[in-house]
């Protein structure tokens, strides 16, 4: 029996349905797991995504042919049946289930297994083959409980406010920023947002997602007018002239990479909060177990170690080379979904400060 999904140099491909999942080259029909730039790229003839993911994609990709689908709704494409299921990564994110003649494959995109109070919570999907990310696929990555993390961030903000300092935190414009907005305590002070964050906020609010009140930072914004404020900025805005307008301040960075002291110190922010929209080690292992799958394909992250670990656990595990970047600890997510320049075969992924992959020479794609 032919594989339901195959791995090509354009992306994950379904021969039975003649479509791609999160392709990185222009194709006719693309099923998109979520709106981050490394998964949702410009240049496809037709897009299919969840209703909740569509507004951000339209915002980022412009006028594209985009059909939507509800979570759990089954749709026939060629000889394949597809459905989208919550991945818990960002609002609207999905795992894509593809069934051909009773053989079920699931492509996870990016996912996290704990509820963040914002994204539709992750739902395990039973399947025969599971394509998983493993951005944080090493046992050193274990996330704190959400309430502990929230207390840390609020404590930092409140202490700064009491000391007359502005709190500036760097986070991805889609997902991480809104997750922070959802978890912080707005009674501590006003919340200001970088333009890129506020643009995404506006899109999400328009689709009915409740977020606390925020104030957009404009060229005229002064820190002195907003004492005790929390500023949610893109990571690249930290330490720039943009950030200097806020006067005395404490900076923080929210990323899964902040679990590592070396990365934390290199970032040179005052604080590093371990906040990730990807599954930690336990989350990855639990998710894989719950699918009941025997064949596992690891896409991006510590693929070689994770594949070996899964093989030792008795899985038929493989590494797949993709162009997904996962969480890079910088602005990769905010890189524009660039129209492919002629002859360009590289992906703007920014500067991959933290490790992208434990494996410098990934084996060839395809199985």
């Amino acid at each position: 029996m032919a594989d339901v999904l195959t791995f090509t140099d354009r992306g994950i491909y379904c021969p039975a349905g003649d479509f791609y999942i999160d392709p990185w080259r222009p194709v006719d029909r693309a099923l998109i797991t979520h709106g981050h730039a490394d998964h949702s790229r410009w240049g496809m003839q037709r897009y299919l995504a969840t209703e909740a993911a569509a507004p951000v994609m339209r915002h980022r990709l412009g006028d594209v042919t985009l059909q939507t689908i509800r979570y759990g709704e089954e749709r026939r494409i060629g000889d394949a049946t597809v459905s989208f299921h919550p991945a818990g990564h960002v609002p609207g994110s999905a795992q894509i289930r593809v069934e051909v003649k009773g053989d079920v494959w699931v492509a996870s995109g990016d996912y996290k297994t704990v509820a963040d109070g914002l994204s539709e919570p992750f739902e395990p999907v039973r399947c025969h083959a599971f394509i998983t990310e493993c951005t944080f696929g090493l046992p050193v990555f274990t996330w704190l409980a959400e309430d502990v993390l929230t207390a840390q961030i609020n404590g930092w903000w409140a202490a700064n406010a009491a000391a007359g300092r502005t709190s500036i935190i760097g986070a991805y414009a889609l997902g991480k920023a809104q997750r922070l907005l959802t978890c912080v305590d707005p009674s501590i002070g006003p919340i200001l947002t970088h333009g890129a964050v506020e643009n995404t906020n506006a899109v999400l609010r328009a689709q009915g997602i409740a977020l606390p009140d925020t104030i957009r930072v404009t060229p005229d914004t002064k820190g002195a007018d907003h004492p005790g404020a929390l500023v949610i900025a893109t990571p690249s805005a930290l330490g720039t002239t943009w950030a200097r307008r806020f006067g005395p301040s404490s900076t923080a960075f929210a990323s899964g990479w902040m679990a590592l002291r070396g990365v934390r110190r290199r970032r040179a922010a005052d604080r590093g909060f371990v906040v990730s929209d990807h599954a930690d080690w336990d989350g990855l292992n639990a998710a894989i177990k719950e699918t009941g799958a025997t064949r596992i394909f690891a896409t991006h992250g510590y693929t070689s170690a994770f594949q070996r670990w899964l093989s030792e656990q008795g899985y038929d595990a493989h590494i797949v080379s993709t162009e997904y970047t996962g969480e890079t600890g910088d602005d990769a997510d905010d890189a524009p979904a660039d129209p492919p320049a002629a002859g360009s075969d590289t992906v703007a992924a920014g500067d991959p400060a933290p490790p992208q992959s434990g494996d410098a020479t990934p084996p060839q794609a395809g199985v």
């Binding site: 090493l138 046992p139 050193v140 990555f141 274990t142 679990a259 590592l260 002291r261 070396g262 990365v263 110190r265 290199r266 040179a268 005052d270 604080r271 510590y302 170690a305 070996r308 670990w309 030792e312 500067d351 991959p352 400060a353 933290p354 490790p355 992208q356 992959s357 434990g358 410098a360 020479t361």
Partner: protein, 529 residues
């Protein structure tokens, strides 16, 4: 341990000196005396020695975490720090305690005396009762690798703030051979008789590199001498006993037994700042010769003959038991000259010769001859300068000769650790020998963080082969390396060994084929070796 972990976190999180000093001062105001004493010891590099091998700790940690050893090793490679890897990998603590820092240090000592099974049980118990950062710090202490981003100088400042003591006095008190076992907080910091410890050295006066010769003013205000390439040392003779301290506050007395005879020639109550130099026939030998003596606690007879040392005296800090650091350099130097003149030529002691000059041009010309004298350059000292403590600008300057340089090709890269974890920062370089690239040195420093990040991304995409943590990369990038000296070395494939190699520039402009050759290196060896 919670207080200590909180202190460590405050220091580790901040890049601001004032915040670090304030955190330490708060701690010194509130912590129990034993913990303060240990903290002062740890922050001045007086770490407890490692009593257990890293291999054992890895085995036990992997077992406790329920992961195979290879996966632990893989994680260690990414994290770059053993204690951090352990603290991140182990399951959360099951029973929290708050025992003081001193308790855990004593526990580490107690365990070191036990057999393997008992040690393992004790360490697992400790890991299980210490949450997050406390577990990390305990393990850092256990592996003898505790370090903190605060200099002894800043710690002393905090101590001065907390105790109301004088910073210079505290600096002096914290020097020397004390450990928490040989003193108490009260004796070390609070008693009024700091001279109780006869072995205690004075803080070294350190110079910055010269920035602007023209700014020094008239040449007649200055004295110059050679900057020798040995080991800076402070020789102390008090109460009939002698001690030799390194700049890093290591006691080196036993490593250089020939200096013991100076007890017979120098008056009691003498402290000399100088350079330990390999020396024969009135000529300084290369640093390479001295290297054989470094790190040897006991010295075999043959080595004493092959690499004899002397103390090249720069300055006199204590004369007849009196601290004379406040006197002008010219006066101290005159007294030093007198003392040395009274010693016989057979004594392993020389006065560092002055370089006479009437104007800066002549001095510049003299500096150009440094390398052939086995000197690193010149030291300039203002004639009326006191002997200060620590690195200070203004009165003393070092004026080193320009380094030797070579353009080399990067062929291997390895990840750093600590702040450089996850970055490829340690490179091996090669020069051309015909069509082959011959490795000849490693270098770790000299690039900016941005350049290291750029190279790291490149290394990931251009790895040809992995040898454990080392990656062989496509030969493509050329770097200009600087180094202070070159020696023949049978241990190296290239036949040469460099002194203090570092990266001066990334030569984006230089094609691979135009890197230097092994013959170029040999020519340098012939000229400067």
């Amino acid at each position: 341990m919670k207080d200590f972990a909180a202190l460590y976190a405050r220091i580790d999180e901040s890049t601001k000196t004032t915040v670090k000093v304030a955190a330490l001062a708060d701690y010194f105001r509130t912590a129990p005396d034993d913990d303060k004493l240990w903290t002062a010891a740890l922050f001045t590099g007086r770490r407890p020695k490692r009593t257990i091998t890293a291999t054992r700790l890895r085995d036990w940690a992997a077992e406790r975490a329920g992961i195979p050893l290879w996966l632990f090793e893989e994680s260690y490679g990414i994290v770059g720090d053993l204690a951090e890897t352990i603290s991140l990998t182990l399951p959360p603590a099951t029973h929290a305690s708050d025992l003081p820092l001193t308790h855990w240090i004593m526990e580490i000592r107690r365990l070191s005396a036990l057999d393997d099974a008992a040690r393992k049980a004790g360490i697992l118990r400790a890991w299980d009762s210490l949450p997050g950062s406390e577990r990390y710090l305990f393990t850092k202490l256990l592996t003898g690798s505790f370090r903190v981003g605060v200099s002894a100088k800043l710690m002393t400042r905090a101590l001065a703030q907390a105790t109301g003591g004088d910073e210079a006095n505290l600096t002096h008190r914290l020097m020397g051979g004390w450990t928490p076992d040989t003193t108490t907080w009260s004796d070390l910091i609070e008693t009024t008789d700091p001279s109780a410890d006869l072995s205690r050295p004075y803080p070294f006066y350190l110079a910055y590199g010269l920035e602007d010769l023209a700014a020094l003013g008239p040449a007649t205000d200055w004295s110059a001498e050679w900057k020798w390439d040995g080991i800076r040392g402070q020789f102390i003779l008090r109460g009939g006993e002698h001690h030799l301290w390194s700049r890093g506050e290591d006691l080196m007395t036993d490593r250089f037994p020939e200096l013991a005879q100076l007890r017979d020639f120098l008056p009691d109550g003498t402290v000399i700042d100088g350079e330990v130099l390999a020396f024969r026939d009135e000529t300084p030998l290369s640093f390479n010769t001295l290297q054989a003596r470094i790190g040897r606690k006991t010295v075999p007879k043959k080595l004493l003959t092959d690499a004899p040392v002397i103390l090249m005296a720069y300055d006199l800090l204590e004369d007849a038991g009196t601290d004379i650091r406040a006197l002008p350099f010219a006066d101290r130097r005159a007294r030093l000259t007198q003392i040395i003149a009274a010693t016989p030529d057979t004594a392993p002691l020389r006065l560092s010769p002055g370089v006479t000059f009437s104007d800066w041009d002549r001095l510049t010309a003299a500096r150009a001859t440094s390398r052939e004298r086995n000197a690193e350059g010149l030291m300039l000292k203002r004639l009326d300068s006191p002997y200060l403590a620590g690195r200070k600008k203004g009165d003393w300057w070092k004026w080193k000769v320009d380094p030797l340089t070579i353009d080399a090709v990067m062929i291997y890269a390895q990840q750093g650790s600590g702040r450089r974890a996850n970055l490829f920062t340690d490179y091996t370089f090669a020069v051309w020998d015909g069509d082959a690239l011959v490795p000849f040195t490693k270098a770790y420093s000299g690039l900016t963080d941005a350049e290291f990040r750029q190279i790291t991304a490149w290394v990931r995409k251009n790895t040809l082969q992995k040898f454990g943590p080392v990656r062989q990369v496509t030969p493509q990038h050329v770097f200009e390396l600087a180094f202070e000296g070159i020696q023949a070395s049978p241990r190296h494939k290239s036949g040469v060994a460099l002194r203090f190699p570092r990266m001066l520039r990334w030569r984006h402009d230089k094609p691979l084929a135009e890197a230097n050759t092994l013959d170029d290196l040999r020519a340098m060896l012939a000229a400067h070796g």
